[in-house]
């Protein structure tokens, strides 16, 4: 039943998907389709905004409105859509390069504005599309196609970044933790304001291979081993937290979303203009 309804949100005629064997993106795509089905959202009320990258091709398989835009700008496009038509459900699907690196500035400002967009970030710790170069989420020391001697940079904690910038809802799962992912997406899709769900994902062809993590199954096992439920993570001492990712719901706030604030502003403007039109320049 759910399976059939979820499939109705997918463009199955374009299967098999473009992603490599062992890539986690299909898992995230499935979870998104199930969430749309569970919420019974109408296709014409949903807009999927993608950036550029492997995960940026997810819109090819989603049978909703979509714009496949430019690398890093998905959240800025999504902001325009959501602000223009607040009743739409707007999803921004981005890779770690898209969201945390080239689009990092748009991320912090979308979170700060608390614009009602759900960002679903596939974090595979590298630029999959262009051959596995390091991104702003590649762990320090990691080998990638442009860090053959180890990544000299520190990585972002994407969820902490979104929280600090003001997101209303922040959560993390991995493609190993599918039930958790389903639950978090359900929450995010129904939560007003800016929501970010980071999904740690596998890229066995690049990140896995360069870091000798093994084949798809081993990379999945590695992923499972670095994820720690948030409650347990909080009991760990700093040293034990190194290289680990807390998963689960991380932030849940009820700050008024941008569109709500803007509607108030419009009402105030209307009132003021009626009382006394602003002086012309």
């Amino acid at each position: 039943m759910l399976r059939e309804r979820a499939l109705s949100y997918l463009v199955t005629e374009r299967f098999p998907v473009f992603w490599c064997p062992g890539c986690g993106n299909g898992v995230i795509l499935g979870s998104i389709a199930r969430t749309l089905a569970r919420l019974g959202l109408e296709r014409h009320q949903v807009v999927v905004v993608t950036g550029i990258g492997c995960w940026g091709k997810a819109d090819d398989y989603l049978d909703t409105n979509a714009i496949h835009g430019t690398h890093g700008r998905a959240l800025a496009i999504a902001t325009g859509i959501k602000v223009a038509r607040p009743e739409l459900t707007v999803l921004a699907l981005m890779g770690d390069g898209d969201c945390a690196t080239i689009g990092g500035n748009h991320l912090i400002h979308a979170a700060r504005r608390n614009v009602g967009v759900v960002a679903v970030v596939s974090n595979n710790f590298n630029y999959g599309m262009t051959g596995g170069q390091y991104s702003a989420t590649s762990p320090p020391g990691a080998t990638t196609s442009t860090s053959p001697y180890g990544n000299p940079e520190r990585n972002f904690d994407l969820c902490a970044l979104a929280e600090a910038a003001g997101a209303n809802y922040v959560a993390r799962a991995s493609v190993y933790h599918v039930r958790l992912l389903d639950r978090l997406l359900m929450e995010a899709f129904s939560h007003p304001g800016f929501c970010l769900v980071e999904v740690l994902s596998t890229c066995p062809v690049y990140f896995g291979r360069y870091n000798r993590l093994g084949g798809p199954a081993e990379v999945m096992r590695w992923l499972a081993s670095v994820c720690v439920p948030r409650e347990r993570y909080e009991t760990l001492v700093a040293q034990d937290r190194e290289g680990k990712f807390p998963i689960g719901k991380l932030v849940e706030r009820r700050r008024p979303p941008f569109s709500e604030r803007y509607a108030t502003l419009q009402a105030r403007a209307r009132q003021l203009v009626q009382q006394q039109p602003p002086p012309e320049r």
Binding site: R43, H68, K82, A84, N105, H106
Partner: protein, 383 residues
């Protein structure tokens, strides 16, 4: 705007905003920059009370992106900027061209490159407006020389954007943007508000990139009964990625031809002084104002001198230029740059007619004296 005050004394930037409002514009996203900031300020003041939106984005990359998003969500969306911001917008201007998203970009030009003379006028973005974004494409670029033209062309820009499903760039410059002149806020402009060509097929039949006879595909909006996808990647008529070379050639060609083949509809210009003159000035924007003064002076003295003022810079109105130069023995292109338009004029008219440039690129407005000097140095004995 109070109803009684249709005739106003107003700044060019304010008239640009009023023209946009007259066309029905209801979404602005931008990032402030001199000499365009008044447009943003006025948009923030005027839009919310009318149910419109003023969105101040984190930069011009985001501004252009938000404008595209809002247009797809059914708004008449625009932004305003100047050189450095216009450079940042090139990436998503390309997206608007490829995805075929109507929108308007106002560029109140200032002196460059880079920060240049930040508060001084120039007309040096003529070629950037044509070729600033990568890849083969066509461009619709208008240019205003008076406050009245700011008003009229701003409204026109939205009409053309929706008509061709294409971004329209409206150029002004620091002189025109900041000068104050009498302007009539013509109600008719409002009646001619920009309208989107919506699909009228059944929702499951809609193909967002299936062109009508004129090369332009109808565009729905997100939230309507039509579910559709747009993309900056090469695509088929449904908007799905498509690497077929034949399809790619067809799309690239159509994107250009929908503009080129309908160019006469886009062209607007005006002629001053002697019709089909012996000496023809060609100019646009603030520089055209200096030319008008020279035309008046010289024709009074009995010289055969005329001005072709271009309002449409791209698609370049070559036949109009050729026609205006039909009897000319000298053509002078007056512009506040090193001669960007001169090359286009050169290409448009027979080789035997010399084409000189009256140019200014020091951050100062081009003056009648600059044009006069060029005429005198041309060896034209009559001047």
């Amino acid at each position: 705007m109070r109803e009684e005050s249709r005739v106003q004394f107003m700044q060019g930037n304010a008239a640009l905003l009023e023209g946009a409002l007259a066309a029905g514009a209801d979404f602005f996203a931008g990032y402030p920059i001199t000499p365009s900031s008044e447009i943003a300020e006025l948009a923030s003041r005027r839009l919310p009370a009318r149910g419109g939106i003023y969105l101040q984005m984190e930069d011009e990359l985001a501004s252009m992106a938000a404008v595209i998003g809002a247009s797809l969500a059914g708004r008449l969306a625009f932004t305003a900027t100047s050189g450095p911001g216009f450079s940042l917008m090139q990436e998503n201007l390309g997206l608007a061209i490829m995805a075929e998203v109507p929108c308007v970009v106002i560029n109140v030009q200032r002196s460059g490159p880079s920060t240049g003379l930040a508060t001084r006028p120039a007309q040096a973005d003529v070629m950037q407006a044509r070729w600033g974004t990568h890849g083969d494409h066509s461009a619709i670029v208008l240019c205003a020389s008076t406050v009245q033209a700011c008003y009229r062309l701003a409204a026109r820009a939205f009409q053309l954007a929706e008509r061709f499903r294409h971004p329209v760039v409206l150029l002004a410059d620091e002189v025109v943007g900041h000068m104050r002149e009498r302007v009539v806020l013509d109600r008719e402009e409002q009646a001619r508000g920009a309208r989107r060509r919506m699909p009228n097929c059944a929702p499951d039949q809609y193909r967002p990139y299936q062109p009508e006879a004129d090369g332009v595909p109808p565009l729905a909006y997100f939230g309507s009964q039509y579910v559709f996808r747009v993309t900056g990647s090469m695509h088929d008529e449904r908007g799905f990625p498509c690497a077929d070379p034949e399809n790619a050639a067809r799309v690239i060609e159509r994107l250009s031809r929908k503009i080129q083949d309908n160019a006469p509809e886009i062209w607007s210009w005006s002629l001053w002084g002697t019709p089909e003159p012996e000496i023809l000035l060609v100019s646009f924007g603030a520089a055209a104002r200096a030319c008008r003064a020279v035309v008046e002076e010289y024709t009074q003295k009995g010289h055969s001198l005329g001005l072709l003022e271009l309002e449409t810079l791209w698609p370049f109105p070559a036949p109009i230029v050729r026609q205006a130069a039909a009897r000319a023995r000298l053509v002078v292109v007056a512009e506040m740059n090193l001669g960007q338009m001169r090359g286009e004029v050169r290409k448009a008219i027979p080789d035997r007619i010399p084409v000189l440039g009256a140019n200014r690129f020091d951050g100062e407005p081009l003056t009648p004296g600059d044009v006069r000097r060029c005429l005198q140095e041309s060896g034209e004995k009559s001047c």
